[in-house]
């Protein structure tokens, strides 16, 4: 028998003037690190790092399910709403959660749309964080697919979404973790992946904001996998170049969901990223 150190609880915060019951998990102690999941998935993408005792010895990893995702319920009245995530609502949610949890300038680590929003927050609200780890993140990509495929009455959006995003998983990933990663997409609520992609593939407001990010105050480190078709190394490199002082690491054998699809391959890149962030001691000084 083994019981993992990850604990899960709920916090209710206000977003858009209405309450949101947010599920979050955490493990470890020390410097707080908020971990944002990708579109169409949930906190389980961070399960391996949260079970890594060397990392959690000095880092308090906290991951939460965005509303509509995982164990965070959609808002009251969702049954008549079309879920379409926006940059503004996403930022408001992240800020509400760190306030709700009482966190003092955590590191913000996000993957895919979580990485995109980490860069938006680096530009717009840097004072609330100590540094940014943007994984599979870039300025903007239009969709290379029709996002309406993933919410139709005549097909299973989750199964279609999983089959599509498998294109973004490295063939070096262990097969079991490939399928654990895809399972989250298969479980995603109807229209949720589409609603996430709507924001991700149509809002290019980050592009002019990138040069305004002050990496001397809050470092930005971008990590990208060579097998990522959605955010390619070229996309990430272009983005890093637009942020003065940003650093970039390319992972040759990983894809778009590195912490979930290939935890062993991703670990050294995440450890390196944490080392680039201000240490808790420096922050306190």
């Amino acid at each position: 028998m083994s019981i993992e150190p990850i604990t899960g609880r709920y916090v209710t915060v206000t977003v858009g003037g209405a309450p949101r019951r947010i599920y979050f998990e955490e493990a470890g102690q020390g410097r707080p690190v908020i971990c944002l999941h990708t579109a169409g998935a949930d906190t389980r993408q961070w399960r391996h790092l949260m079970n890594d005792s060397e990392i959690t010895a000095s880092n308090r990893l906290i991951a939460f399910d965005m509303p509509w995702h995982g164990k965070s319920l959609p808002p009251e009245g969702f049954e008549t709403q079309e879920y379409l995530l926006t940059t503004e609502a996403y930022i408001e949610t992240v800020l509400a959660v760190i306030d709700g949890l009482g966190l003092d300038r955590p590191v913000l680590a996000g993957c895919s749309m979580g990485g995109r929003i980490a860069l938006q927050i680096a530009a717009l609200h840097p004072e609330k964080f100590s540094g940014f780890i943007a994984i599979e993140a870039s300025d903007f990509q239009p969709a290379w697919y029709d996002i309406d495929w993933f919410h139709r009455p005549d097909a299973h959006g989750g199964e279609m979404g999983a089959a599509l995003v498998s294109a973004n998983i490295s063939p070096h990933a262990p097969n079991s973790e490939r399928w654990n990663t895809l399972w989250m997409f298969m479980q995603s609520g109807p229209g949720v992946f589409r609603g996430d992609l709507s924001f991700y593939t149509r809002d290019d407001s980050l592009i002019p904001r990138l040069p305004t990010i002050d990496t001397r105050a809050t470092p930005v480190h971008i990590i990208v996998g060579a097998y990522d078709l959605t955010c390619t190394p070229e996309d990430a490199e272009r983005t890093a170049k637009a942020i003065p002082g940003a650093t970039l690491a390319v992972m040759d054998e990983l894809g778009h969901f590195p912490m979930s699809e290939h935890p062993e391959g991703f670990r050294p890149f995440f450890v390196d990223a944490l080392e680039k962030m201000p240490s808790p001691a420096a922050k306190a000084a």
């Binding site: 290379w144 097909a155 279609m160 089959a163 498998s166 294109a167 063939p171 078709l229």
Partner: protein, 182 residues
């Protein structure tokens, strides 16, 4: 240049040429399926040897057909899939006809009389790389081929997407298996 080239090459004419060379060029340059050495142009033009190459492609698809029969989960996933799919390799057409998840025929084109539901168009070198145990980035998925300008998918895309896991896994049945021993 076939009309189908435009759109999926990120505006790079070099990629377009690599992906969809003229039919005559394709016969010379891109017919290098697994186990076959690239041939000089003059040899490639001999019809009998081209037939051997085409037979090799047919054999590969028939290998997929056989392996599919030994893969129960794919037959279950494909139980509602009864369509013909066009696979175009370097300008040569091959038709895979499915019936309730089984491949019931593998036919060599060209055929103007064979209706197909959707098509994957690529070149032999790209398909070789797709079938490696651990393909290079871009060659690891049919959408990767499209993204890097080495493939095009057209026709009834929704039919493909509804059966995407099934079709991708069927096409991958010819993939080398070395990684299983690693």
């Amino acid at each position: 240049m076939p009309a189908a080239v435009s759109g999926d090459t990120n505006g790079d004419p070099t990629l377009a040429n690599m992906a969809f060379p003229e039919r005559s060029q394709a016969r010379v340059l891109t017919h290098t399926l697994a186990g076959m050495a690239q041939r000089p142009a003059i040899v490639a033009a001999i019809p009998q040897l081209m037939n051997a190459w085409e037979a090799k492609v047919i054999d590969t698809f028939k290998q997929i057909q056989t392996r599919l029969e030994d893969t129960p989960h794919l037959l279950r996933l494909g139980r509602l899939f009864s369509e013909t799919v066009l696979i175009e390799v370097g300008g040569d057409e091959f038709y895979l006809s499915f019936e309730k998840g089984h491949i019931v025929s593998v036919a060599h084109g060209p055929s103007r009389k064979t209706p197909w539901r959707f098509a994957l168009r690529t070149d032999a070198d790209a398909l070789n790389k797709f079938w490696e145990a651990r393909p290079e980035p871009g060659f690891h998925d049919i959408f990767g081929l499209v993204k890097i300008g080495r493939g095009r998918i057209d026709g009834d895309i929704l039919s493909l997407v509804k059966n995407l896991r099934f079709f991708k896994e069927v096409l991958s049945l010819a993939r080398a298996k070395e990684e299983l021993a690693a």
